[in-house]
Structures are given as structure tokens and as C-alpha cells.
Symmetry: C2
Subunit: 231 residues, 2 copies
């Protein structure tokens, strides 16, 4: 039966054997129709994953911030003719910290089967490796830049930590250094902070210690993809 | 360098090519020391994954609710002699809804490298497939059985939904039917509910619709592993 496949991408390095199950590659190979954020990078990824796949027969729809929401239901038309569709993320798994969720929501309304595929999520890998409580956690996405709202998020996170809920968040990579400074000035010195950088890359770096200990260290986070966790 | 590897298990079916990257199998093959929840099921899993691996040379430490916390630091002794250690979950990825986090926390205190491996997480796969907001979400674990506390969790979830934070939770599998009934009686008819059952298994079933529509349907959830999401 035709279905929507949620296809993972790498987190920046083509270590396919490390991050993708073999069947995911076979599924990508079986598909002609894709929904992607960026045509050029999506085609380049498919080419590296499957050098022999015919690129000219691929049919790609672009789903980004410019896409008219009224166009979205039409993206699913190939299903009517028995063609499955792949939703491909720019990095990691689709629909998590990523715009794919809208189209999946429409698929559910239309009664189309949705099949998520196993792949790398920096959020999940960071949580596993943090040593923090994985029984209850909250992903707060990118911290807001508006100061009063950001302050409220910090307050909410500190309350949650007291309730034993691990907090996970991110920042635009070029602002990582500033965020770390802010964390040093905002959090209690005994709060545990995990910084996970370049996950699944050769340069992967994951470390958990108290804020007091981090303040003696200055890891280079500039423009590197990073996840922050507090507990 | 010797490290702690966080090794995924299946979610109940030995579809290794669907759920595990090839390198994860190679890592399991390279290890002698493991920390596991249950010796018998861990050995059986390693045997199915790697029929030729010598089971007699495996060294397994048991980490479950009976384990004395004072024994935990000793579990990491093989690292001193240059041996890497694998932490293996009973299902899915370790340390998420799972007791592995304590040992990872000790590893960080000792400055031991922690390497998370890609594998299936029913929480993450359900979130991807739900069509719900993946920019901000909260995993609330197993809902508490105590009535007043449970009521407070429902209230907190309903507040979070209004703030656009997807809510993810679980129930002991034999109580899934009762939970579904409770959701029908507690949530607003227009709240969207995703039920994801038997993820990655042949019987996988993932569906999102309003509470009003669910109340006309009675999916068989009894004793099946299920994740519930509301948005």
C-alpha cells in the first residue's frame, strides 16, 4: 500500500553505516516522489546515498517557510495513484525541530499510512548520553530571543528541574558561546549541564558536569551544532 | 580509547536491517563487557544478532531495581584496563524510559567517554509520525496511578497543549484500554490524539484524529506497547 515514509538524513557526515539502517537506504531507492526542504541539498544527499539512482526521474516538492499552505494537500496526490512518498529532512529525522509535521498532519486527515524510519536525532542521542533522567524530559526547542520571554523560559526550566524533568534546548550555532555564558550567569552552580556537540561526527563531544565546573572550562562551540541539557 | 557505548535493542521483532545501523552490530561484536537489565534476554539478543559470537567470554553486569547503587562504580572498572563497555537496553535505546542513566552519570564523573548509538526509540518514532509539533514537546513517562497526582498531570498537559507543546505519555500495556476510556472522558472532543502501537513491528499502527473521532472507534490496545500523544 502507498504510504508516507519519514526518512532520516545524516547530521552532517556521510557515515551511512553508522547512522542509517540498511532498509532505510532500500526505501529511499524504491521511491520516486519526495517532499524536501531544499531541492539541491536533497538531490546531493540522495546521490551520495545511492550513486546509481536515476536523478532525472525524481519528483521533488519543496516544503519550506515560503510554501503556500494551500499547496500542501496536493503534495500528497501521488498516493492516489499508488505511489509512496518520502519526506526527507535537511538533517536528522523529519518532523522533529523541522517543518515536516504539517504534511504528516494532512496525511492523517486523509487516512494515509505514515511510516517513520529509524535514524539519528541529535536530541535523543544527547539525552541518552547525558546521564540525565530519561523517564521524563522536555524539549524546549530554540530559546526565544525576546528577553522577557526568554527569562520566563529559564524560570519554567528551573521549576521543571526541581520536579525531576530533564530540560533540553538549543541555540542558533553562532550564538552558542553567548548562551554558555548566559547559562553560567543564570543557573545554580550545582546544576548539572550536559553539552553535546557534533553528535555522530568524528568530532563528537559530549560532557556532563556542574555549572561550577563548566565555568572553569571554555569549550569551542562557535558555529558547531550543539544541544544543551540541564538536570 | 575505551568508552561506554549506548546500544539499542529492537522494539520486539528481530528486523535488524530495519532498525539498526550496520556499525552498531560491529560495535556489539567488538565488545566483551556489557551492562544489561536481564542476563538471559541480553544473551539471547546478542545470540540472535551475532550467532557466531562466543557467549562464554561475555562479561555481563546486571543493572536493575535490585542493584546496589554502591556496586555501580565498579561496573566501570574494565575501562581502566582499556576495555570498552556496552550498555544494552531491554527494548529501544538505553537511558530513555530506562534505568541506564545512573551508570552514564557516573561515567561522566569519572571522565569516561560516552558514545550513543542510533537505534529505535518508540517515543521519537511516534512523535515523528504523529503530525504534531516537534519544535517543542514533553515526554511525561508513565502516567502516575495515584488519582490526585494523575489529575494534576492532566491539568499540566492541557496547559502545555494550549502553549503549543506536544505531550507524550505511556501506560502499563494491560491498562491501555482503560487509559483510552479515560482520555475520551477527560480531553476536549476537538483535542487531537495520536495513538502509536507496535512501532517498527509488522503490526505497526499509528493514527491521529480528534478525541471526538476516537470515541467512535475502539482499537485493540490490550497488552500492546503503545505511545499516546496529544496536541
Amino acid at each position: 500500500m502507498a504510504a508516507i515514509y519519514l526518512l532520516p538524513n545524516t547530521l552532517g557526515q556521510d557515515n551511512f553505516d553508522t547512522i542509517l539502517p540498511k532498509d532505510v537506504v532500500a526505501i529511499v531507492n524504491s521511491l520516486t516522489y519526495f517532499i524536501v526542504e531544499n531541492e539541491k541539498t536533497a538531490r546531493a544527499y540522495i546521490k551520495r546515498l545511492l550513486p546509481d539512482k536515476n536523478q532525472r526521474e525524481l519528483r521533488l516538492e519543496i516544503l519550506d517557510k515560503q510554501t503556500d499552505p494551500l499547496d500542501l494537500p496536493g503534495f500528497l496526490d501521488p498516493i492516489k495513484n499508488g505511489h509512496s512518498i518520502g519526506i526527507l529532512s535537511e538533517a536528522g529525522v523529519p518532523c522533529v525541530a523541522d517543518p515536516g509535521a504539517t504534511i504528516v498532519s494532512i496525511a492523517h486527515r486523509k487516512g494515509i499510512e505514515v511510516r517513520p524510519c529509524v535514524g539519528p536525532s541529535s536530541i535523543l542521542l544527547a539525552l541518552m548520553a547525558s546521564g540525565f533522567n530519561g523517564q521524563q524530559f522536555a524539549f524546549r526547542g530554540y530559546l526565544p530571543h525576546d528577553r522577557p520571554i526568554r527569562k520566563r523560559v529559564y524560570q519554567a526550566m528551573q521549576k521543571d528541574i526541581r520536579d525531576g524533568i530533564t530540560q533540553i534546548f538549543m541555540e542558533t550555532p553562532y550564538r552558542n558561546g553567548k548562551l554558555l555564558e548566559e547559562l553560567m550567569n543564570t543557573l545554580h552552580p550545582e546544576t548539572k549541564l550536559c553539552i553535546a556537540v557534533d553528535i555522530t561526527l568524528d568530532s563528537e563531544y559530549i560532557k556532563t558536569q556542574t555549572v561550577a565546573k563548566w565555568s572553569l572550562e571554555h569549550p569551542d562551540l562557535h558555529k558547531r551544532p550543539a544541544i544543551f541539557l540541564i538536570d
